[in-house]
């Protein structure tokens, strides 16, 4: 037993676990999909920005990574070890401009008039960051479709952002802006330092008034409705019901199609695929990953005991996978459409 323990210790010391983790590789694995291999942005905002990196402390970065941005796509990486977290941050720091220093986490509060700040916010910030600071609609930088702004404004009315950001960090962002993004210096745009302090006080006051999350919880993963008609009639009714709700039928096939030779396919599991390209386009503007829901699909199944069922995924359940508040409403809408179609088709 002692020998086994010693062996395990030796493995630990020699093995990859305690060797300093490779921050670049960890970044590549966990972050690059959204923020880009070189930090230039994608589904997430760009990180390799001089005005950003010279303004945020390591505490800001580690809190952002640990807690994510609830409801704003950026996931919470709760399971990374502290060592891994530090390695990722060191990797991000390699994008600092030459000769610059990592800022300290300066918690000196900014004193301002939040009420004045509120009016200034409505005038100068709301068009990008949303009327309540809930963030612009859409995510980060998207290259796959045209849009008005190259980078979507992050949520400020967000518990995790406010926990990570100090007043000083917010103030510096307003003073300097972020070169290379639509966020410009408000000093240059004519706000006074007092105005800026007032806006910071207002942004800080979001903490006292958290936004409702709107996330769907306690949903079943799938929807199922028993049909009162025969299998074939149910399939026909299903197509009719989808057409009646402005969907286009794009395909009808057996579930096993493409997996088995045609004559061997189970013909009692019939999929109807349907699409509404306007809905798809809107959902993909809000989140390029929304294709995970596509195409719309309801399956008609004849069970062993002869009962016929209509089955589908539950869009409200799946919306939880995205950590994107903007999808909650379209998913509720899609849920309503699915249930309506299945109920109509079951009669």
């Amino acid at each position: 037993m002692k020998r086994l323990l010693a062996l395990l210790f030796a493995l630990l010391i020699a093995g990859p676990v305690f060797a300093a983790p490779d921050g670049g590789a960890l970044y590549g694995r966990h972050c690059a999909a959204c923020h880009g291999q070189d930090g230039h942005g994608g589904v997430g905002v760009p990180l390799a920005l001089p005005d950003f990196l010279t303004n945020v402390s390591d505490t800001y970065l580690s809190r952002t990574i640990r807690h994510g941005r609830p409801g704003r796509v950026m996931p919470a990486f709760e399971n990374l070890s502290d060592v891994q977290l530090r390695a990722i941050i060191s990797h991000i720091r390699t994008w600092m401009p030459e000769g610059s220093m990592t800022p300290v986490h300066d918690t000196t509060p900014v004193i301002g008039d939040a009420k004045r700040g509120k009016a200034l916010f409505a005038e100068h910030c709301a068009e990008c960051h949303g009327a309540n600071g809930e963030g612009g609609s859409g995510t980060g930088v998207t290259f796959s479709r045209p849009r008005d702004l190259p980078v979507i404004a992050p949520a400020l009315h967000n518990a995790a952002f406010l926990h990570a950001a100090t007043d000083q960090m917010i103030r510096t962002t307003l003073l300097q802006g972020r070169d290379g993004t639509p966020m410009e210096s408000f000093l240059k745009q004519g706000l006074s330092e007092q105005d800026i302090n007032d806006v910071v006080a207002y942004v800080r006051s979001f903490e006292e008034d958290p936004l409702p999350s709107g996330q769907h919880e306690g949903e079943e993963p799938y929807l199922s409705v028993e049909s009162f008609s025969s299998f074939d009639e149910t399939v026909a009714n299903l197509k009719q019901a989808a057409l009646g709700r402005n969907f286009r039928i794009i395909r009808e096939q057996n579930l096993e199609n493409g997996l088995f030779a045609e004559e061997e396919e189970n013909a009692r599991q019939r999929i109807v695929y349907f699409c509404n390209f306007k809905l798809i386009n809107e959902a993909m503007k809000l989140d390029p990953r929304a294709g995970i829901f596509m195409p719309c699909r309801i399956t008609v199944v004849e069970m062993a005991d002869g009962t016929v069922k209509l089955m589908s995924i539950n869009p409200k359940f799946m919306s939880q996978f995205f950590n994107n508040n903007a999808l909650d409403e379209p998913c509720t809408e899609l849920y309503g459409l699915y249930v309506g179609i299945m109920e109509e088709a079951s009669l």
Binding site: K2, V17, A32, L80, L255, N257, N266, P288, T299, M311
Partner: protein
């Protein structure tokens, strides 16, 4: 429990810490362009013993309807016998099978995303099925790793 059990468990805990990063969606960036990644994806799917059953070209439909978009496809795949027996045994899996992977262009690179198969455990409680889901998860992870490492 003898006096070594606790430290052993601790050590094993250390070994596995940080391995499982629970995110419901898995996503990787491939440094290659869309056509190359699409080919590579179909390759890794069959290398892992699955069959591609169909490719849905979402971008084609969108463009035809007048919406601007870059390449955006959905690849359906599965192991035929597994899909057959699982859907027969656990009908609640029907809406989710065959499995699918979403692939879309981002300028000269490509993003590949899918639901973590570990999610299927929420649909089926049977430990026998969990063995299969675990295999799926490890296959999907290794498929995505191969795509993100391709130069």
């Amino acid at each position: 429990m003898n006096r070594y059990t606790a430290p052993l468990l601790l050590l094993l805990g250390l070994f596995s810490a940080g391995v499982a990063n629970a995110q419901p969606l898995l996503m990787v960036r491939a440094q290659q362009s869309f056509p190359e990644t699409m080919l590579a994806l179909q390759g890794v799917i069959s290398d892992h013993g699955y069959r591609v059953s169909r490719v849905q070209r979402v971008d084609v439909g969108l463009t035809a309807s007048g919406y601007a978009t870059d390449k955006y496809r959905i690849v359906f795949y599965g192991k035929p016998e597994q899909v057959r027996s699982l859907t027969a045994k656990y009908s609640q899996l029907i809406p989710y099978l065959p499995q699918k992977i979403t692939i879309f262009a981002e300028e000269e690179e490509t993003l590949v995303t899918t639901v973590d198969p570990a999610f299927f455990r929420k649909l089926v409680a049977d430990p026998e099925a969990h063995v299969i889901f675990k295999q799926w998860r490890s296959d999907v992870e290794s498929m995505l790793d191969e795509l993100s490492e391709a130069e």
